[in-house]
Symmetry: C2
Subunit: 99 residues, 2 copies
């Protein structure tokens, strides 16, 4: 088990703004099951009172931790949740009572 990988994930989620950015991406992705829209960072950036450089930095941390995937589309940046990692995290934390 790669402890470092998980500490990186938890570190990425341990900052208030970064966690909210991540949750916004999750939210947008949920909505997209109906609409088919993608999550443009541009659209959610306005919700925060931090500057563009800081948001860019946070996105990179989330991406580095493997929590999200990013993709450039013209001048916009699209983000997607990495659902596999989220499942791994849930498993790590839990007791395996059934075992």
């Amino acid at each position: 088990m790669d402890i470092k990988k998980y500490t990186k994930i938890f570190k990425a989620l341990s900052n208030e703004n970064r966690l909210e950015i991540y949750l916004k991406i999750v939210e947008k992705q949920e909505a997209s099951f109906d609409t088919g829209d993608e999550c443009f960072i541009n659209e959610i950036a306005g919700c925060f009172k931090i500057g563009a450089p800081t948001i860019s930095h946070h996105i990179k941390e989330l991406s580095n931790a493997g929590l999200i995937f990013t993709e450039k589309k013209g001048k916009y940046l699209i983000c997607k949740v990495n659902e596999g990692v989220v499942d791994q995290v849930s498993k790590l934390l839990k007791l395996q009572k059934s075992k």
Copy 2:
């Protein structure tokens, strides 16, 4: 939803030694379903190359985040996982595809 509560939890798990301490407590608790033993910090402290003050500090952070409960038994300290919080964390991170 209380973002601060969750950032505190993630921060608690974002340090390598602290995550390992938490996982040791989980492990001990799993074993205890058979043996009925409790998790004495004293016993797991030897696994780490950090000093007692640092371990004490880490335990307090885990407890403060609500991830574990602690209890004094004589001169020993007993730790238990707060399973409720772990479930909440898993729910927070996940997409609700079924909705």
